[in-house]
Structure formats: structure tokens, C-alpha cells
Amino acid sequence: MREFRGVDFYQIDALLSEEERMVRDTVREFVSDRVMPIIEECFREGRFPTHLVPAMAELGLFGANLKGYGCAGLSSVGYGLILQELERGDSGVRSAVSVQGSLCMWPIFTYGSEAQKERWLPRMARGEVIGCFGLTEPDHGSDPGGMETRAVRKGDRYVINGTKRWITNGTIADLAVVWAKLQPENKIRGFLVEKGTPGFSAPEIPRKWSLRASVTSDLILEDCEVPAGNLLPGVEGLKGPLGCLNNARFGIAWGAIGSMMATYEEAVEYAKHRVQFDRPIAGFQLTQAKFADMLTEITKAQLLALRLGRLKDAGQATPAQVSLAKRNNVYWALEMARMGRQVLGASGITDEYQAGRHMANIESVITYEGTHEIHTLVLGQEITGLSAFK
């Protein structure tokens, strides 16, 4: 396979700062050198490439958009570009970085005490502590407000009971940010639960056919006691986890572009060389129609993500705007993986080609961080003022 070049039909590179281009290029090179050679095998074996964590940390990928505490302090666009390039490699690898940065470091940075920040953030930036985010439960995905995990104060500790499911990094995490309803106030609060705490376990979820190069787990809390100092003081209510998700969703809107670039490039290269009826299939009309659609959707997705990133850095991006970009870009990433797979014909069903892996992965990406349907309702409410959620 020739070197990955990315797609830039509308000269979007010219809208990036030189630093942003350098950030993109350095991660692109890292993915080509370190991720691409091993990712098929990791996916096939259902294994997250933990051996890459130190190199990713050294590059500064964890919490890249946070300021201080050993983090790189990138703009939102810079952060998005990192995730774009990681997901060009694999959505599972990108998920692990999203969780570490947006769902674990970000809440500590935003809602944590100075002591908590000092204790955890530098080590997480160095990849010495891996984090995970415990919000979703077996019976509460789209309606996190209905969560059943409960926390009760007991002297100078909190006792937490409940189960979280579909938690990226869970089994390998040193620290979990667990959201539970604190009683008797019945308010959602965030708790830092450390690996090894009695009553806390994180078994891996087996038999996945999607995000296989990423660890997905249950978090089981049975009379799990955490010190009072492990409560995140800065937020109460659903807006705590939703704030985190808003950041992660922004990153995913960018990540989806990386997946699209990968599947598009692969399909075009293949079609130029695949000869049927005495000519390359790239010359047939139906194939060209697919490519025209792919290039159009990539270009649109890039412009959505870029404008959203600039709004975010100006402090003006709304959750509904993030929903629009996540919904659109991930939808098209899934479509594009399928289209690409079809262009590859039978070859596309082995892992010699990437389209099938991207296709399988994006099935998770379109569901997590707010399903496609949920983002549809977010937009519907934004447009009409009427909630169609219940």
C-alpha cells in the first residue's frame, strides 16, 4: 500500500495554522509507522496495542487540548486532527485516546479539585495512568439520567453500588470516573475509583466483532468504598457527564473523517488497478459515482468539523452544533466503509483490506457517544423547541 496522503479537495490545509498542520503530519507519520503494521493483527486477535501507550504519551496524545499538567495545550482543531489521524488507523485505537483525554482527563481538569488534578493529570498525560469513563449501564444507555448506580456517604467515605457496561479501557484502566446518583440528594456526581479498590472489578466484554483493537468492559461496583476526596467537587447533575461527552463527540466528528479518508483512498487505489472486462473498474460509471459521492461527503465533513472547531475555540460551540457534526460525519463514515467494501469486491471481506474493519468499527461509533437517533432528536428539539425524547 502506498503512503497515506489524506484528502484535501478544497484546500482546507490552507485554513489550518502551521502548528496544526505539523500536529496532523506528526500523528499521520506515527500512525503509518507504528499503528498500520500491527492493526490488522490486533483487530483479528481482539487486542488493544498497549505497547504503543508510552510512544503515544511521548508524542503528547493524551489530553492534548488541556492546558498545563504536562499536556500539550492544543487548539480544538489540533485535537481534532490528532483524532482524525488516529482513526485513519483504527477507531478502537482512537476510542482509547478519546476516552483518556476527553472522558477521563477532561472531567478531572474541569470538575476536579487542584489536589485531584495534580495527583492524576500529569501521570495520565504520561500514559502512566490509564483512565475510563463509567456512565452507561446495562439498562441505561441513551437515558443516562435513569442510571441505577448509587453512592451513599459513610463517614469519610462513599459506598458505591452498581454496574456500568460498554466501558472503553475498563479492564486496563488504573482509574475510573464513575457517575452515580448520590443519596439521599439523588444527584448525579462523579467519583474517582482506583483499580484495586475492594469491591471494584472490570471484566472484559468478550465476543465483540466491532472495536476489537480496543478494550471494552463492564465495571462492577459492589459496596465499593472510595475516600471522600475522590468525589469530583465541581459539578452536580447530568451536565457533568454531558460536558465530557460534548468534548468527546467533537473529537469523534473529526475521527470519522480519518476513517472516510482511509476507506476512500483504499477503494480508489484498488479500482485503478482492478481490471474487469479489459479495463480498470475505476473507469466504469457506477464506480465513479461512488467516488464522487465519497469525495463530496469527505469535503463536507471536513468543513463542518473545521468550522465547529473554530467555534469551540471561541467558546461559542453549542451541544446541538456538536450533535450535527457527529451525526453527519459518522453516518457517512459508515456508508463510505460499506461503499468502499463493495468497490473492493470479494477482496474486501478479508482483513488484507481495511474497509471491512472500518465498517465493523463504525457500527459502534454510530451508536456510542449518543446514537444517531439521539442526535437526530437533539437537532429536532433545537429546531422546533419541542422535545421528542419521551
Binding site: 502548528e19 505539523m22 506528526t26 508524542l59 492544543l74 489540533g78
Partner: protein, 252 residues
């Protein structure tokens, strides 16, 4: 210990090069530019020397058009401390003219570098001469093709890869070295490094490169590769194949 690394901006080696309309320069449209890979070994080695010593400065110099500033900023992002950008828009520069411009720049420096590093060759013009020419102009010792470098008490001990083995050479500083593949694995520019690069100083001025004494008159594509031919099939074809390899291809 202060090190000067000379780095060149070159087209990405995966680029398909097209000859421009004037038939003596390349068409630069759509080209992705990179730091000459051999120069990256030099930058990386300079950074390692500084890290091992715990002190010293790494300066990166480039000669090229305005866009060549990118070369310096990439090196600063890797960890170099400052840059010198000598602006020059001309293409296909005579290596000796480049060498004279670099030598003059070093002579004009208030604090002379202890070590000057070059990549062994630039992957575009492959002249392999600029490093040794700069050394000669500055009357400094020069060792080329370095694959291993150790510093102690003002002396450098280097390994050069030669046919069938290694040659160990000791040279007093100040000296000029050219780096070869195998010397090290260049680091990625970390994100923090990229952000920090903005604040590092780059001195920019006109290169005032002396006149080219060697010029490129014409560029041509290499001749089309002739098709292969099938010699025969199976074991019976081997004697004929051996004969052709010996008599026609002169490969045996």
C-alpha cells in the same frame, strides 16, 4: 557544546516528479516537501548529544525559499533551539555555491559551533558534496557517512560503514561530520515540541549565495523501461536463463 545542523528542504521521496515547462527545473505544483531524511539523522544526533551533555545549543540552518522556514520549524519542534534561514529562491543551486554561503555564515558567527553536521546527501540532487566542501572552506576536519558517534573531551569517535565492516575514526573538534542511515531513529516532533517551536528564534536573511559555477542545462526523464521477456518455462529454461544473465545482462 554547540552544534550547527544544516538541513535541506526536499520533495517527499514518494512524489512522482514532473519536469517543468523550462525543461531544467522540476514542476513544484502539488509537491509535498519534507526535511531531507539524511538531515533528520543529523538533527536527531545533535539533540541526543545535547541531552547527554545536559547543556549546549542546537542551531539548524537551511538555505531555500520562504517556505523552507518550515524545515527549520520542524527541527525546532523536534527540540532544536534556534534557526537560521538564509533565503534563496533559485533552483538547482550549484553545491559549491551553497557550500560557500554556509561557510561564510559560519565565519560570520560570533560563537563558532563545535560540531557541524550534514546529512550524507540530499535525496533530490544526490551530490554528496556540500558537507565536505564546507569543511574544506572552513579548514576543518571532515568525516563522512557516520553511523555511530561518541563524544569525549573535545574529540569525536565515529564509525563509518564501509564495504565489509566499519572504520573507526577519531577526530578533534571543531569538525564537520556527515550522517548516514543507521546512525539513529529520528524522533517524532511531539505536540508540545510543535507548540514550543513558535517561541524559538529564527534569524532570517538573504542568503546572498555566490554565483553558480555549475548549472543544470537540461532535465530529462529516464528512458522507458523495456518490457521483460519470458525465457522459457520449467527447469529446462534455466541454462538459457543463466546464459542470458551472463552474456546479455552481464549480471553473473
Amino acid at each position: 557544546m554547540n552544534t550547527l545542523v544544516c538541513a535541506k528542504r526536499v520533495p517527499d521521496t514518494a512524489t512522482k516528479i514532473k519536469i517543468g515547462g523550462d525543461s531544467r527545473t522540476i514542476d513544484e505544483a502539488g509537491i509535498q516537501w519534507i526535511i531531507n531524511p539524511y538531515d533528520e539523522f543529523a538533527i536527531e544526533e545533535a539533540l541526543r548529544l545535547k541531552e547527554k551533555a545536559g547543556k549546549g545549543e542546537v542551531t539548524v540552518l537551511t538555505i531555500g525559499p520562504a517556505d523552507a522556514g518550515q524545515t527549520i520549524r520542524s527541527a525546532l519542534a523536534m527540540g532544536a533551539d534556534k534557526g537560521i534561514h538564509l533565503k534563496d529562491d533559485a533552483k538547482n543551486r550549484d553545491p559549491s555555491a551553497i557550500a560557500r554561503a554556509i561557510a561564510r555564515t559560519v565565519q560570520e558567527m560570533a560563537a563558532k559551533p563545535d560540531l557541524i553536521l550534514f546529512g550524507r546527501q540530499a535525496v533530490d540532487d544526490q551530490s554528496l558534496t556540500v558537507g565536505p566542501m564546507v569543511a574544506t572552506l572552513l579548514e576543518l576536519p571532515c568525516v563522512t557517512d557516520v553511523v555511530k558517534l561518541e563524544m569525549a573531551d573535545g574529540k569525536a569517535t565515529v564509525s563509518r560503514e564501509i564495504e565489509g565492516g566499519h572504520e573507526i575514526v577519531e577526530v578533534d573538534l571543531p569538525a564537520v561530520l556527515s550522517t548516514n542511515k543507521g546512525l539513529n531513529e529520528p524522533r517524532y516532533a511531539s505536540l508540545k515540541g510543535i507548540m514550543a517551536a513558535k517561541k524559538k528564534p529564527i534569524e532570517t536573511r538573504d542568503a546572498a549565495v555566490p554565483e553558480d559555477r555549475v548549472t543544470v542545462r537540461k532535465m530529462d526523464y529516464p528512458p522507458e523501461r523495456k518490457g521483460g521477456r519470458v525465457v522459457g518455462t520449467g527447469v529446462e529454461a534455466v541454462p538459457e536463463l543463466v546464459r542470458l544473465l551472463r552474456e546479455e545482462a552481464k549480471a553473473l
